[in-house]
């Protein structure tokens, strides 16, 4: 593969503590050097990063790629197209496929599809329980050998505290995190949005913040003696932030993520019964949005992850109660994160850590750094470039976004995986890596 240089950009690499103008030299798919700016004009194979940030490739540790089983919503190929267009060099995909990724054969199939697609790296997350039924542990060891990086029944909370205890204990043997969708289904009842004034006014059943917080409290209590690592998916409430903050202060091995929609939107977005604002956990109050932003700023929340949840238009073009939960997120996450950082006064270093360094650390995967010798997974982003979200032009197979028509500031101009440029915004082109390098 051709060597290349990424010239004239502002390198922000929290893992190596670099935040300054640097040229990056890529050779044989790895970072060969990070040098003082040479001021040389870019050659044909080089990337002109002037005016841009050069950051370790973004990693989205929470996506739904829908393959196998729900290819009408998304495939590994279309999902990773969306990923690289959004600046992500790697994604971790949840197990709620059909069949469920609760065995090594499905794990291997997903990895094979990803290799053939040749775009973003794909890290499968195995089911915690067989068939996502919440009863018996899946064959976690076999899936781990096949390449899973975590276990999760995402979409379904682990109702049984006993199962949760054993999952934390058992996974400690493999060093992989247990990723949890925290919601007490009894408290949530059959809620469809955040429990608050908007729900009261709209006559929609509410999901109280306590549904999320009580489960987090339970799992943190378990973690005191189980071993293992707990990762809270899409944390959404002020109380949840406080629980994680306190647990971290006690030194417990807990990490947490927040989605762009939970730090951008409130339950007001549901006001017109907009089914693209229906998700689980639901969009919360302004106070919760403030708290998750604060949680990112002070390190309580480690990761920004999208919960990219593609759904067919027919699954959203129905009455609110009947609509599917979730939105696509890969192609809008970066500008929403930049916007939030500007509003909340979050430093670029904290932001890039949440989008790259920290997810790599939580999942213990390659990437997350531009240190010399690291794989050349690099995102070159223009923090000033403005564009308008046009769902019909998204690379994802699905269009379910509440951000249609919104003007975004910030875009990935080049996404590089293993030294190969797989996305170039200037031409809008997605170019797979050659199969032998994928």
């Amino acid at each position: 593969m051709p060597d290349c240089r990424i010239l004239g950009g502002l390198v922000i690499d929290p893992a190596s503590g670099v935040h300054t103008a640097r040229d990056v030299v890529v050779r044989s798919g790895r970072i060969a050097a990070v040098t003082e700016p040479q001021g040389v004009p870019p050659g044909l194979d080089d990337v002109d990063a002037s005016g841009c940030w050069v950051v370790p490739g973004l990693i989205d540790m929470h996506v739904h790629l829908r393959e196998p089983g729900y290819e009408y919503k998304e495939t590994v190929e279309t999902g990773t197209r969306a990923a690289v267009a959004g600046g992500f060099t790697a994604v971790a995909c949840m197990a709620n496929t059909n069949p469920v990724n609760d065995n090594a054969a499905v794990t291997a199939l997903i990895r094979d599809r990803a290799r053939r697609a040749g775009l973003a790296r794909v890290y499968p997350i195995g089911a915690l329980s067989k068939g996502l039924q919440g009863v018996a542990l899946a064959e976690i060891g076999e899936m781990h050998e096949a390449g899973i990086v975590a276990v999760s029944d995402d979409g379904r909370p682990i109702v049984s505290g006993g199962l949760m205890r054993r999952a934390l204990e058992y996974t400690s043997m493999f060093g992989i995190p247990v990723i949890v969708h925290e919601q007490d289904e009894e408290i949530a009842a059959d809620g469809v949005m955040h429990d608050g004034a908007v729900a009261a006014r709209l006559g929609l059943r509410g999901i109280p913040a306590a549904a999320e917080e009580s489960m987090i409290a339970r799992d943190i209590a378990l973690l005191e003696r189980t071993g293992g690592r707990l990762h809270i998916a899409h944390l959404s409430t002020a109380g949840a932030v406080a629980l994680v903050r306190a647990a971290k202060a006690r030194g417990l091995p807990v990490t947490a993520e927040v989605t762009p929609h939970h730090f951008t939107l409130t339950d007001q977005a549901v006001a017109g019964y907009d089914t693209d604002a229906k998700m689980n956990p639901p969009l919360r109050s302004a106070r919760d949005v403030e708290a998750v932003r604060q949680g990112l700023a002070d390190g309580t929340i480690d990761v920004i992850a999208t919960d990219h949840a593609p759904h067919h238009a027919d699954e959203k073009n129905v009455e609110f109660d009947a609509a599917a939960n979730g939105i696509v997120g890969l192609e809008t996450a970066l500008p929403l994160a930049l916007e939030m950082a500007r509003e909340a006064g979050l430093s670029a270093d904290v932001l890039i850590a949440a989008l790259s360094t920290n997810p790599a650390r939580v999942l213990r995967v390659t990437g997350g750094t531009l240190g010399v010798g690291a794989v050349a997974d690099v995102t070159v982003l223009d923090p000033q470039r403005t564009w308008v979200v046009q769902p019909e032009r998204m690379r994802s197979k699905s269009r379910n976004t509440p951000f249609a028509g919104r003007t975004m500031t910030g875009q990935a101009v080049v996404t590089m995986v293993g030294g190969h440029v797989v996305w170039r915004a200037a031409t809008g082109s997605v170019t797979p890596r050659p199969l032998e390098d994928a």
Partner: protein, 333 residues
């Protein structure tokens, strides 16, 4: 003035002038139902379709009588007879109906927001006949009309709404309209059924006697018996003990209080028969006013975008009398 809305989805957000205009129009239609021949040609040649995804005798019948007294053709579908059981989506069902060019679709649906969903997608007036726990606008309009007839006004009155506020579309529509019309609303029920969010819009109490104290109007809501299985209250007996309206509880209200109920009543649970059938009860007047309100709503929404008549003196309601112009004919002529 005119009613500047294409649909009637809810009362939230309607201006006071809109509500007053609807009530005035309804009042002018009341006389038609007092006649020997209860039919005017106002909506002759118009087609009204009602689609009910929930069982309802009273509301559906009331709409049907209202439409027929206006000479509209009325077609009624219920969920069991419709395509819902064949797996057709709400939107497809409604699109098919709209393709038959009705002049209004009346929708009752178990999902909050269902009529809003259709209104955004169909080129046909949608009348909400009750959506989930959200709104039931014609019920609240007939309630306001009944209150106004008895009290001469709505502004300045104290109205207590008692029961399952959480799940009640009647409560929400009344809360929105009564507040807009200048009344003070009190919500009364157990904390499980009156969430604290409502304190932003109304006085909230969990004590029935406190709630009805000095009230001008007491509006009782039907308690859904299946709620006791979900622990909203332990038993209907205990519910009746704390929130059932009887003469003793009523003693704290104003001497000229009126008692309302949207029906159907659970006698002996939320309302004692002595109260339901007593001198303060206006429950049957509510039912009568329901016809006038629905005639007014159909007239304003289904008559094809014509300017309504300026408000007419009593006895010469739009369409009243043999000499009243047939509006469609006038427009085309």
């Amino acid at each position: 003035m005119a009613f500047a809305h294409a649909h009637l989805l809810g009362l939230e957000g309607l201006e006071r002038e809109d509500l007053t205009f609807l009530l005035d129009t309804a009042a002018s239609f009341k006389e038609i139902s007092e006649r020997d021949i209860k039919k005017v040609p106002t909506l002759r040649g118009k087609t009204v379709v009602s689609v009910f995804y929930e069982a309802s005798t009273r509301t559906r019948t009331s709409f049907e009588i209202a439409a027929k007294r206006m000479s509209a053709d009325f077609v009624s579908l219920t969920a069991s007879a419709s395509s819902a059981t064949k797996g057709e989506t709400l939107l497809d069902t409604a699109r098919n109906l709209a393709a038959m060019r009705p002049d209004a679709i009346i929708l009752r649906h178990n999902a909050s927001g269902a009529p809003h969903f259709l209104a955004a997608r169909l080129d046909c007036p949608i009348i909400n006949a009750g959506d989930g726990s959200h709104e039931h606008p014609t019920q609240a309009l007939l309630d306001a009309l009944t209150i106004r007839e008895h009290k001469g006004r709505v502004e300045g009155l104290t109205v207590a709404i008692v029961g399952d506020i959480l799940h009640s579309r009647v409560a929400r529509s009344n809360l929105f309209s009564l507040r807009t019309l200048g009344a003070t609303v009190r919500l009364v029920g157990p904390p499980t059924l009156v969430p604290p969010e409502f304190r932003a819009w109304a006085e909230v109490t969990h004590d029935l006697r406190e709630g009805v104290r000095d009230a001008d109007v007491v509006m009782m809501l039907r308690i859904q018996l299946e709620r006791q299985g979900k622990n909203f209250f332990p038993s209907t007996d205990e519910y009746a003990r704390y929130f059932g309206l009887n003469e003793r509880a009523l003693a704290a209200a104003k001497p000229d209080v009126i008692i309302m109920h949207p029906g159907p009543m659970n006698r002996g649970i939320e309302i004692a028969s002595e109260v339901a059938d007593g001198p303060y009860s206006v429950i049957m007047e509510q039912v009568t006013n329901g016809i006038a309100v629905r005639m007014a709503v159909l007239y304003l929404l289904a008559s094809g975008g014509r300017e309504p008549e300026p408000s007419t003196p009593a006895g010469s309601a739009p369409g009243a009398g043999e000499t009243a112009p047939i509006r469609g004919a006038r427009r085309s002529g």
